[in-house]
Symmetry: C2
Subunit: 477 residues, 2 copies
């Protein structure tokens, strides 16, 4: 009689157990969750998920030379159950010879002090404290025990509450700040079996302060009904969907990164989004470019809704120059000529000031306009007005004495036209240029004389005539 | 007393009604469902959805100069209810002066004859008959009365059964074959109100042979529970998600089209997918390129599963040359050197035949290998073996008399090496080249003498020596 037939039950148990371990190892490798020699803080509530996670990482620590620590929070400071949880956790860690850090915290007080809801506050506090412990230990990662059922429940919850591609990704295997979720591919059932097979007898998860009520409805009502009536493997199907969508979502994100580098530029006063390039992008990309620009300015996109993004996108339209949109958190979106500016600065269009010295023949970038002033000196004999580009103006270069500058209009500016002297303000009114756009129409100034209203008029004093020898061609692009 | 306060109820009713109409008009415009002057066959069951649809399109027909027809199927040929439906439909069409075509069909018989399930068979038959009527009338479109709730139910059903981005798009506004769904953005409630306001008193949808049982569980159990416990506007949230995803899915599809033109080529024997280009694509695109290639060969992708796609993708790997995968419906995927071939032809690798004449200095594309043979004649004094590319071979050009060809091995081929004459077959065995790859290693032949086993050996009779004047460099890329 060989061992296999003598211990058939044991043999089967070992195989199943080993498959959970192998599955976690696969998740860890495929998602690069853990490198060799790392230190890992396991968030240990004492419930089946975190106990299974600790046990598996403990096993993995030999193979990968990891340093495993446990961190336990006693939320319900007055509950006996919570102390029993802590005792269990201490005993388990002693058995496994894992250093264990236990903290008791008055969560309701913290939430009250920080004006947070109990659920949000508890989550925030948990991550804060785990991170504190991680830093003290100079550990690399914080491992959290979310499982496959949590994943399906989260995705279903998001679908019910309304979501998009991002939300359908579900819980991520890893997050910034070293958060990892190695057992995210393991079902609750397999976790419970693993605990049984390893005689771990975990506690019932009592310290979980998540929105138990909503989640329990999904866990105990909706999912079982769906399983019974539609799909025996409903959890697997939802998780598989979420994995497929994650691949698609990653792809779109990578395309957004490429487009962002082409379409958007960060300057000191915010992110500039160039309208002609933005217009060429697909709808799916446009929204995300605006979101990314806002994230770059604010650090995150909290309290920014879909309707705000859509509002910003209306700035692409024609006749939107000079328009301004107020967004949450003191953010503004402006349309200036060729670009949309996402900025925390409040800009008064009528008070925009700029003054650039022009060296004929050299290009000057006018940041306030997002345009480049280009000029060229040509001999009158070579000049042909008919071959000029559409927006190119020209004047008698010989009539310019001293410096030329390009600046915004000032109060009282006047230009000498063939019909006589005219106030720039009246000229703008006559040309029906809206007040908020006027600062974006630059003047070319020769000492104190207005030479040109760029793109519109040339002063009579600088016009080309039969005595002109050199001609200055110029344009704003 | 003015009319508004005298008819307050009427006023409100009119407003609501007009909003349903406006909303449908918006759907029609945004999705280009109907052009002016078109003929439209409305699939009219007599239930609220199709009756509302008919009424709205009838109104629209004046604005857009449409020709509206109704087509009604009597599925349940023995049921009294079904005859009542038909009578109702005839009466309605008479009132609206819409030509009405009624057909009675023995659906169970049709399904039996065609070996189809009742649900699939009924759907197929419906579309077949509507299309027949459309063609007889030379009409452009077939309008179907799916509504917003149907959409949410479909998406939820797909989520429960397992789906991906494509499935989450839900029902499409339009499909090939002129199928359009103008009331897909209107909720069941609004449709019922519209019918009331217009005194349409539709029949209860009795002829609907869809999988009522599953759908009713979603409609009557799951969605109401979700509405009660999670989200008052659950239908709206799911439909909004599906719309957002449609934009993302469209974007990915457009990127797939671009990549397909780069990575894949259709030739007579199937679609060639170039492995080096395929490898550079994102995971999200790779799968879809394979699917698109299969669709191009088969016309659709029925009975092709995710696991088949994954299997085809394994052909990208190293050492896969000469591998063949059997796919459903007589389809094959082959790995030949640089490409994967999706084909309905069964190809026997060992019987591949090719024979190309080589003109030194000119490039020759070897279709069977997906590679180009490049060669160059250089003077011996300019020649430096150390500066050659990795796979470049060379020989004494002066020793070649007559024609050179490049061909697959033949039985009995021999090459003269420095160690003596060797059978090509033995050489391949010695070099551990698998049997199925051997036809892809071409031989260079000078009249009847083997000059080179491309990439591996040069015959001793053609080696460069101290008397060599001209050298032929060659490579297969």
């Amino acid at each position: 009689m060989d061992l296999d037939s003598y211990y058939p039950k044991l043999y089967i148990d070992c195989l199943e157990e080993s498959m959970v371990y192998e599955e976690v190892l696969k998740t860890v490798k495929e998602n690069n969750l853990i490198e060799e020699n790392e230190g890992i803080v396991v968030a240990l509530s004492g419930g089946p998920d975190s106990v299974c996670l600790l046990h598996i990482l403990h096993r993995m620590s030999k193979e990968m030379n990891l340093k495993i620590f446990a961190a336990h929070l006693n939320h319900k400071i007055r509950g006996l159950d919570a102390y029993m949880d802590s005792l269990y956790v201490m005993k388990l860690c002693e058995e496994l010879q894992i250093p264990c850090f236990i903290r008791a915290i008055d969560v309701p007080k913290y939430c009250n002090d920080n004006k947070l809801g109990l659920e949000d506050g508890a989550r925030k506090l948990r991550y804060e404290i785990f991170n504190e412990i991680r830093e003290k230990l100079s550990a690399d990662k914080i491992a959290i025990g979310h499982n496959k059922n949590d994943q399906a429940e989260t995705v279903l919850m998001r679908i019910m509450r309304g979501t998009g591609l991002q939300g359908l990704r579900g819980i991520e295997y890893k997050r910034e700040g070293g958060i990892i979720r190695p057992i995210l591919d393991i079902s609750r059932e397999d976790i419970e079996n693993y605990c049984k097979e390893n005689n771990l007898s975990p506690r019932i998860d009592g310290t979980n302060l998540e929105a138990i009520y909503s989640r329990n409805k999904i866990r105990l009502k909706i999912l079982p009904y769906m399983k019974e009536e539609f799909n025996e493997n409903i959890v697997g199907s939802i998780v598989r969907m979420s994995k497929n969508i994650r691949v698609d979502s990653d792809y779109i994100d990578s395309q957004v990164d490429i487009s962002y580098n082409e379409v958007c530029r960060k300057y000191e006063d915010g992110v500039y989004i160039f309208v002609d390039l933005l217009e060429k992008e697909h709808e799916a990309i446009k929204n995300r470019l605006i979101i990314k620009a806002i994230r770059e300015v604010l650090g995150d996109v909290n309290s920014i809704d879909k309707k705000h993004i859509e509002e910003v996108l209306t700035l692409m339209g024609k006749n939107k120059n000079g328009k301004k949109i107020n967004l949450p958190r003191g953010l503004y979106a402006y349309r200036f000529n060729d670009y949309i500016l996402i900025s925390l600065k409040e800009i008064n269009y009528e008070k925009i000031e700029y003054n650039y010295e022009i060296e004929p023949g050299k290009e000057v970038y006018i940041a306030e306009l997002g345009k480049t002033f280009k000029s060229k000196i040509v001999d009158a004999v070579d000049f042909n007005a008919e071959t000029l580009g559409e927006n190119v103006q020209y004047l008698d270069f010989g009539k310019i004495k001293g410096n030329i500058t390009l600046r915004n209009r000032h109060q009282g500016d006047k230009i000498i036209l063939r019909g006589g002297t005219k106030k720039i303000k009246e000229l703008f009114i006559g040309m029906k240029i809206p007040r908020e756009e006027r600062s974006f129409v630059p003047l070319i100034v020769n000492d104190s004389n207005i030479v040109s209203v760029c793109g519109y008029r040339i002063s009579a004093n600088y016009l080309v005539d039969e005595n002109t020898e050199k001609i200055l061609e110029f344009t704003l692009e």
